[in-house]
Amino acid sequence: MAILNSIASWLMKKRMHQIELFMKYPHDVQNEWLLNLTSSAHKTEFGKAHHFKSITNYEQFKQQVPIQGYESLKPLIERTRRGEQNLLWHTDIKWFAKSSGTTDKSKYIPVSKEFLDGCHYNGGRDMITFQCINNADTKLFTGKNLALGGSFKTDNFGDHHSYHGDVSAIIIQNLPMWAEYFRAPDVNIALMDNWEDKLEKMALSMADENVTSLAGVPSWMLVLIKRILELKKVDDLKDIWPNLEVYFHGGVSFTPYKELFEKLFNNNNVAYMQLYSASEGFFGIQDERVSNEMLLMLDYGIYYEFIPVSELQKENPKTYNLSEVQKDKDYAMLISTNAGLWRYQVGDTIRFTNLSPYRFIITGRTKQHINVFGEELMIHNVELALKTACEKTKAHIIDFTVAPVFMTDNTGAHEWLIEFDQEPNNLDFFISVLDDTLKHINSDYEAKRFNNYVLQKPVINLLPKNSFYNWLKANNKLGGQFKVPRLSNDRNTLEDVKRSLLKHA
């Protein structure tokens, strides 16, 4: 195993030269991908309709191809699901990543072979590359990578079969053999449909494995680890997985979970590496230990464009390519991919923290913010305020959701439903710190809170344990990529969670 570890680590480190290349020549690499994508798809229905053959530069591309959302691509996607090919991409597409639909109904994102290989598998390989670079003595390949995944289903349209499922399940099902060798649990467990049975079977099968790395959404990883500790009747994860060295996480912000994981890992020098991977693509990896920023991955077959958040509501928003973005500004991301998404708005907002190389942080979702009273509350504001309030009151959070509440005709407040793993030692103080931190980091919120004229003090409701789990379960949303919508401009989610509480009372 030690020899295998050395060979595998050496192979991974070799990739670093290619990464350095796109870090050094980002615009050339991106321009090359733009032309590669449009020339590959110029004979598709979409490519012909938008004259891909004549495109030679970015200016032409943005003039000829309008910005797309899921709804505008949906007719072509649905036809592809039913067996027609060469509509959005020139190679056959049979797989569709079902997006978790945190803010919308489910979407079916096309997955081509080029996309799986060039984007998701490259992403998976690169996260290991960075781990090998950051930890010269890595023993990653002496054990297994425990990956949380979803499941997939077959769609029968007459004679034609296509498949849809979590992108994680599509990745596991199509993994190359070398990667399958290092992955756990067994594929029959990893792709099980019933999430509760799957977690139980995963816990049972992984408790005696030599796990060296973990990958998955923090909320579900937490449930799995707690169950394993329970099964083995130990408090310290090191007693079960002494060689665990890194946790690759993504899907939701890690900020509210970090303290819980640190407690679980008990200072065992387990590194954290954030990934920005979604149904639509693999976009970023935290390449350095010292900061939470992620490196934008530029050679995965994705062409990136950016819309400043201030332009989002406009009918014809300005769009910029990578060479035109500025540091410290929030942008919504548009992607064109080698699976046939064209100028497609992903739904997340990011902020560049460095332009050479291009490093960024995720600042929120274009549709996950609260702006009912003009407070422009973004998810990163909320997470930082929660982290501060938790630190000051020794609390740990499982999950939360926030929605507006209208008190009189003119004023309102934010109503919070919070499930704690450990409740604050002083709830009034928790609320004060939360409120005051929000005022400090968001001037719009501060202005609306002034003298309680527009916004009153936050209303906090503490939920019993497992409330969000029960709500997800009731909505058939148990699984690695399902998330609780944390900020909403309406009260639908919040009221639904409250109704679910009554059922479980």
Binding site: T388, F429, S432, V433, T437
Partner: protein
């Protein structure tokens, strides 16, 4: 409130900064304490709670 941390002489400190304003006047209160020291962190919390409760008077 701005909560954060810094290192001085190899020791980790936390700080809570408050800026109270009235018209064009402002008072800045900085509460700084040794991290992981339960007693000092509790004192800091008492000061913080007092600031929250008495903002108007201050």
């Amino acid at each position: 409130m701005k909560h954060g941390s810094y290192i001085t002489n190899g020791k980790n400190y936390s700080y809570d900064n408050y800026t109270l304003t009235k018209g064009d006047k402002a008072v800045k209160i900085i509460v700084s304490y040794l991290q992981d020291d339960e007693l000092l962190s509790n004192y800091a919390n008492i000061v913080s709670q007092s600031i929250f409760k008495n903002k108007q008077q201050i």
